[in-house]
């Protein structure tokens, strides 16, 4: 009961600090979303809105339907149309488009005959990345289109192709090809954001109390060390969950991030991960001699491991062996596995229990270390 009163007092106070400190509040609330939008757009930008010119030499309903599939795709932005092959040169020379799609005459006729229709896709080789990606997607689009043609043809013949099983899923996978990179990145980015905010804020908060002298005042009071830690950690846990929810919502709305797995496992993992991050922050604040050092250490020990040692930016299997060992010193790698597993693979406790267990053990150890280190300071 008394513990509860003391923990509650600290938590209430921390919330007031946060509400009074507009800058930190703005950073904590707005930055993650901003960061995510910038990051995710920057990454998916090279596979989006590629300027495209469509030249339809066939001018049949079939060719028009094919051309409109470019217009309706997020990936291509049709910036012009033409009816002359010579237009392609001019388009590339003036950097109007990176891709020119030419539908030859006879396209509609061969489709109607049940033959493979062929289309020419011209790429501006001076923009190799966009061109290469463009080529890949053009090919994909062609497959989608040809399947739709097949379905239409099958429908006309009275066959049920979806029941045949193999066409529908392939159509779906290919239908949103441009979203795959953000699907992969957002669950990782979530982990980075939570880690940076949680580690940074707790790292700073104990050091600030020490510099104000309030730490000493509280050491003399009946408040116990763990009560203070818990009280400080509680608001940030709540906030981290809020951020997780916001990032998930933004991811699902703006980037069509699928949420295939168990929300319960995600929440459990997130709770443990937040405690790990906060514990790491407390360890930093126990060893940092000044506010600046705490800030620096907080950034260094949150951003670097979250980006490099988590599998977020590079697959863990591609980093050197000793770094893989180092990566186990930070909780991010386990959490990235959990978020990706839950969001993308539909994983639950059965698949993710080793990561959950690792986070649980990490949380206990790191908070114990933090308490021992702060005790030793006196």
């Amino acid at each position: 009961m008394r513990s509860l009163s003391r923990i509650g007092a600290v938590t209430a106070k921390e919330f007031i600090h946060l509400l009074r400190d507009r800058r930190t509040l703005a950073v904590v609330l707005a930055l993650p979303v901003l960061q995510m939008l910038l990051f995710a757009y920057a990454i998916s930008f090279d596979v989006k809105n590629v300027a495209t010119v469509v030249i339809d030499l066939d001018k049949t309903p079939a060719s028009q339907a094919y051309v409109s599939s470019y217009e309706s795709s997020d990936f291509f932005t049709v910036v012009g149309t033409g009816d002359d092959l010579a237009a392609v040169d001019g388009v590339f020379d003036h950097n109007q488009a990176l891709i020119a799609v030419v539908v030859p005459s006879g396209f509609g006729r061969s489709l109607a005959a049940g033959e493979k229709g062929s289309v020419a896709v011209y790429l501006d080789g001076s923009e190799p990345t966009a061109a290469r990606v463009g080529q890949a997607f053009s090919t994909a689009l062609n497959q989608v289109y040809s399947q739709q043609v097949t379905i239409r043809w099958a429908d006309a013949q009275g066959l049920d192709v979806t029941a045949a099983g193999q066409l529908e899923p392939r159509v779906r996978t290919w239908y949103n090809p441009e979203k795959r990179s953000s699907d992969y990145l957002i669950p990782g980015l979530m982990v980075v954001i939570i880690m940076v905010v949680a580690v940074q804020q707790t790292a700073v908060s104990l050091v600030r109390e020490r510099e104000q002298g309030t730490d000493e005042q509280l050491a003399i009071s009946p408040m116990r060390r763990w009560e203070m830690m818990l009280g400080k950690v509680a608001p940030w846990t709540l906030l981290a969950f809020l951020e997780l929810a916001v990032v998930t919502a933004v991811g699902m709305w703006f980037f069509d991030l699928p949420l295939r797995g168990s929300i319960g496992v995600l929440a459990l993992g997130a709770a443990l991960f937040v405690f790990c991050s906060l514990g790491l922050g407390l360890v930093i604040s126990a060893v940092a001699p000044s506010l600046e050092t705490a800030n620096m250490l907080g950034l260094l020990l949150s951003i670097l491991p979250a980006f490099i040692l988590s599998g977020f930016a590079f697959p863990l299997s591609s980093i050197p062996g000793w770094l893989q060992v180092v990566s186990c010193l930070f909780p991010a790698r386990f959490m990235v596995t959990i978020t990706r597993g839950v969001f993308l693979k539909g994983a639950g406790l059965a698949e993710l229990w080793p990561e959950i267990a690792a986070l649980g053990a990490y949380a206990v150890v790191v908070i114990a270390v933090a308490i021992v280190l702060t005790r030793r300071r006196r």
């Binding site: 009163s5 003391r6 007092a9 209430a12 400190d21 104000q212 309030t214 000493e216 003399i220």
Partner: protein
């Protein structure tokens, strides 16, 4: 006011600590490596006294308070605080004493009210106790009507009084004050000592450190510490009326 206690300079060395005293210290020693910050000091402070602990900067005053409040261990010696062995069981007395640090440990981004409420929560006051103590502190510190002002906007004198208020919100029997008048102007200092007399008149024992010799006149018992050792200790027979 006048003191009636006779001078009692006698050494306490070797005697058992006195459990009836507010503070009873024997041979208390603190070393930092090879440096001895507090060197075997002995003193008794009977209840209700204003005990002045005088000494220049770096003589060991704060270190002594840390040991007496259970935040720092001692290397040797014994210390009874309100009859409890504070060196081995500080948690037994923590609710019964208060402490006002050199730095006025207030949260500057919290209002007067919020600071009071926080410390009330730390000492687990009931709603009624808090209402009563809040009214008392606001009146005492002359902060009525300024409850919602940010602590950062208070001038030093008010901040000092608010710090005293938060340090006494749980009605301690014994109050440690570590250089409470540092950086405060003479008028506010005088006002502050009036508040301390008021506390003493309610039976609170005060342990006040200072390096201002003139503040000795406010105390009815004094000890001088120099380089970690007590060089004089005793009670005043008379002291300046205020």
């Amino acid at each position: 006011m006048s003191g009636v206690d006779p001078v009692r300079p006698g050494p306490l060395l070797g005697t058992a600590p006195n459990p009836d005293a507010a503070l009873s210290v024997r041979g208390l020693t603190k070393r930092f490596g090879s440096f001895t910050a507090v060197d075997g000091i002995d003193f008794d402070v009977p209840r209700g006294q204003i005990f002045g602990f005088l000494g220049p900067n770096g003589s060991g005053k704060t270190t002594t308070i840390r040991m007496l409040t259970g935040t720092s261990g001692a290397n040797a010696g014994a210390a009874l605080v309100l009859g409890e062995d504070v060196l081995s069981h500080p948690e037994r007395v923590k609710k019964r004493f208060g402490y006002m640090s050199q730095k006025f440990a207030l949260f500057e981004d919290l209002t007067v009210e919020e600071n009071l409420r926080f410390y009330a929560g730390v000492y687990d006051l009931s709603a009624e106790e808090f209402a009563k103590q809040r009214a008392y502190v606001l009146a005492m510190a002359d902060l009525r009507g300024r409850e919602n002002e940010l602590t950062a906007n208070l001038s030093v004198g008010w901040r000092q009084r608010l710090a005293l208020g938060t340090a006494t919100i749980h009605q301690p029997e014994l109050l440690f004050l570590d250089e409470p008048t540092g950086g405060v102007d003479p008028v506010a200092r005088r006002h502050f000592w009036d508040l301390l007399y008021d506390l003493a008149s309610r039976g609170v024992t005060l342990f006040v450190t200072t390096h201002y010799m003139d503040e000795a006149s406010h105390c009815n018992q004094l000890a001088f510490i120099y380089r970690g050792g007590l060089i004089a200790e005793g009670r005043r027979t008379t002291f300046a009326a205020t």
